[in-house]
Symmetry: D2
Subunit: 342 residues, 4 copies
């Protein structure tokens, strides 16, 4: 019997992507969709690409009867998520896609997000939702905090290397290129087609992007010591896709072997043959992450490149993967959609 | 038990799209892939986006044992298709995606394609593969000829109107905008990113595009008299998607009612609420066709707009839909993939 | 000695394009730039691409001393333009880029723009700014109303044909494709890169776009009788460029000869060899308009296609061309910039 | 009186860009254009965007009378350039845009380009064409070798820092993003719109790109010791523009002051206010290079970002700048074209 799903914040891109995936998921059924500013509208009015689906109309969160719900995805902005989730039933399974429960140290949260966490007591309950590294905890969790899409891409490239001690922890540079949908459906001048197409630029330069909080937390945990990477994101004129080019110091073959071993049993994270580089085009629309390892001409320098779709593996796909685990379903259910190329 | 499928010409975009669909099709299994120039290569080398799939290597057609095959898709260039199909086993079910068997009159074939048809006797056997209009014939067919993607889009907008006699048959204009993947993976200067992006132009202007042969054949059949439309395709900087803006003379409400009635039981062809216009973005990557009807400010003039994905509904999706019928499967099997947006 | 120029509304795309052109104009010098909401800012903060220029800061219009100004470009939204222009010195030469003074009949203005014209007495003074057709009036004008970019493209394709009586005035269809910068720098969801890229759709379907008011006015004037065309604009994923595909009935050679004769002495409007079709890519960033004429397979049907850059010839370039005439300068001064390709 | 210019290899993008610039250059006149495979064609057939210009037809190089030519631009592929240039008159001024004369050490040429240099004796005569660093030598040169577009971008960001000794020479990483026109008008599968749009990937990973030869040569010369940087180029879906994100170790303010001082008198290289990052969109179509300097959160780490248009400053614009110097013209003549935005 299908699991009953609510999506809070269904009028944004990650909410819509959840619907897209669940549309062909064998074991999930959407019973409620919320979207406060668009409450009362049919989903097909907000996202005409979903018009073939028989979906409930958007409502306000207060209108949802959570007694009928097996699991809620919360695809709301940070800060709002805390407020909403703190009022949901205490036994409701929740996958949160916001930043609100990613940081175990609420001081770090305040430092990076600029205001105090309003429900610090719930932070302890949340499991960090990077499935491949927290699988067992996620199975047992009630509240899972989805990883930041940039943070995830960097962690897939780096966490096994940091854990294994095969790279210099003091010299890690993540140069990341991201498509525009990661910024959401928000009305900002720099997201207009005329402003964004046909060019590229770096933003949050100087390692000030909020996803660094996740890098700091997770890499330091993996290393057992403080690790502070450099991280520069760039916006590219594509809707989907993140490519993280990571510069590390270590032995190239050791780096390759460590990553290959770490992901050898993973369905969604694939290490390419040694020396090959991935492309975001080859994972677009899918839950796959491709990782390439190439030795630099200078011995002891290695380039690790990871590619994933920010809306799928980087957000809603991972959320479904976590929900599958939390609901006792096949982890891969609904997620084997092939990439869309060209 | 899964049906065993061969794809001839798997190294092009329509071949790859067949693989993409079959990847999550519940009742099909790929047993052979051919690609003469790339014989011996793994599919993941030709299309790295398919690397998560366990697929047979590309071989030459002669190497395939068709005794094991339930149905073959033929995704080869026109002319080559005739030559290949004429040598396949006479009881093998075939869906051809080329232009070779679309025209019932071999003289018309020669006129539009510039050389005589080499197996005119097989032409009689082929069924025109526009599923929504030839469903019963396709169920019984051995050889089905997939429709041209532009030709299909125009027919979805027009055929019910031509049949019903609600429009002026002498004044039909199809102004069509198509993405670039319809031209295939061929090395042509005008298909380079630097040549194609950031602009648009018309091609085959003056109603000389080969898909007119299909319009002539099908509209004349539907009308019971000769119909000759005007047709101007334009290339736009998008990979997927066709939008046909069709100008007709007739009563707007009659036009709307006729189309709504024609498609009311169709899963994949949806007529939007009266007065709404479709977007190619809302069907990208899916098997859906959206149709809009709007009255012009001048009484008796109507604009009908149809949108579909040229690689899915316009080609490989339709081919799967036809194969489902020929193999006795659920017509929609494997085809309910939601569009990918954004 | 350089003419002193003010640009009112310099924080939008057409304002910035005026600055771009004047940057290499031999006889113009910018002495004032206004931008109410961005008053006090340097132009390089609003448009970093202009940072190499030594420009006055943005001010409020009231702060400008028009005694020092030879000519003002008004690049403000419609309605605002009326209010502003009515208060400018009565002897100041003005090129208005808005819709406010394009329609000679103020009732038509109210009908299409939804509210009464506030300074109907000034409407009589304004000259319609389509340089190639109103050159002598523009030379003598104090106030010139820049043409709508879509309206201009259609007129270049059609006005000589309407005047000459070589086409059926009852059956004219303009199917137009436009890039996104025509919509300006406004924060609308449908102008976001993620919403607009990789697809196309029609808007203002049914001949309801406001530029029809200009078509009605100008074609009726040219014909000496009421002419009502059909007009469907489409948005394409490109920043600049308009392509108008125009369907007419008449003799193809007569159509070609009429257009060739009309533009034979024009620098900026070029009729391509008979049978060739233009591309927006070939006029991008320039003041040129390319026109192609192709006969349809059906005798008596002709396709005329016109391409221009909406920000240059379609707006700011034409404005400079008009200003050159009004100021007694060489009409082409500053406008011979070659297109940018690729 | 205008200088008489020949362009050898005018059928490629850099050749066309030279024509575009010269179209509004006050002191240059094109007297000959060559294009072996397209000899006999009019330039407007090869590049319709240049149709408004009165240009000589393409001819074979042997047909050009160089007695009438003041300077020849050679925009041919490497290897071909050597062969052609060695046969040109020995007193003809030449700006070569290929890689053939960039490397002073012919062994390095053979190592990176895979075959021996055929005219090593001419190598000694050639001046490396990075105008801002070799201005005086270029003024006196007969043969100038245009810099590689990627190599130039990295050098603008780094050479003053390497010379001044303000950064650690052992830890320099150049992560570069480039538009597609740098690859030329060549028919390669990965340059097709359908393959390239909507994504990104790294190529020549591992510091194996040929432009490293220029980095090695110039940085080692500037440092007075061997310098070997890491360099990873990425292809992005844009036609023009290079963004080099450079990671160095040093004091951020010293880095900023060094760059600001180095370029304070340069027209075309502008250092942005401390802490700002450039965008390729703000230099598109122009000869300007924007450089930004940002301190990392970790003391002693600095990010330097440089942006330029690969076809303009990165190739043909620089070539004109050098030609201006060689011909005794104003260095900036014809090059003050403002960027094209949006």
């Amino acid at each position: 019997m299908s699991k009953k799903i609510a999506i809070l914040g269904a009028s944004g891109y990650t909410g819509a992507e959840l619907v897209r995936i669940i549309a062909t998921h064998p074991d999930m059924e959407i019973v409620a969709l919320s979207g406060d500013r668009k409450a009362g509208m049919a989903m097909r009015e907000v996202f005409p690409f979903l018009r073939h689906l028989d979906l409930p109309n958007l409502v306000r969160i207060e209108e949802i009867d959570f007694a009928d719900v097996d699991l809620a995805f919360c695809a709301l902005p940070h800060a709002t998520s805390q407020a909403v989730i703190s009022k949901l039933p205490k036994d409701l399974k929740i996958v949160d896609l916001s930043a609100d429960f990613r940081l175990r140290d609420v001081d770090e949260y305040e430092k990076w997000y600029g205001k105090p966490h309003s429900v610090p007591e719930m932070q302890g309950e949340a499991v960090y939702g990077l499935t491949e590294f927290y699988r067992e905890e996620i199975k047992a969790a009630r509240l899972v905090a989805g990883t930041g899409c940039n943070a995830m891409t960097g962690q897939f490239a780096l966490t096994p290397l940091v854990s294994a001690g095969v790279i210099d922890l003091d010299d890690i540079i993540i140069d990341l290129k991201t498509g525009v949908s990661g910024a959401g459906r928000s009305l900002k001048e720099n997201l207009l087609h005329a402003e964004l197409s046909e060019g590229t630029h770096a933003y949050a330069v100087g390692s000030v992007h909020r996803h660094l909080a996740e890098f700091d937390q997770e890499f330091s945990k993996a290393a057992g010591q403080d690790v502070r990477v450099q991280f520069t994101p760039h916006l590219i004129p594509a809707n989907r896709g993140i490519l993280a080019t990571v510069y590390v110091k270590g032995d190239a073959e050791a780096v390759y072997e460590t990553l290959a071993a770490a992901y050898q049993n993973e369905t969604f994270v694939e290490v390419l043959p040694y020396g090959e580089a991935p492309s975001t085009r080859h994972i677009r629309g899918s839950n796959f992450c491709h990782i390439g390892v190439v030795a630099d001409r200078r011995a002891g320098r290695v380039i690790v490149i990871a590619a994933l779709d920010n809306l799928m593996k980087g957000s809603s796909g991972q959320a479904i993967q976590n929900a599958n685990l939390m609901l006792g379903l096949d982890e891969n259910a609904g997620l084997m959609l092939a990439p869309v190329f060209p």
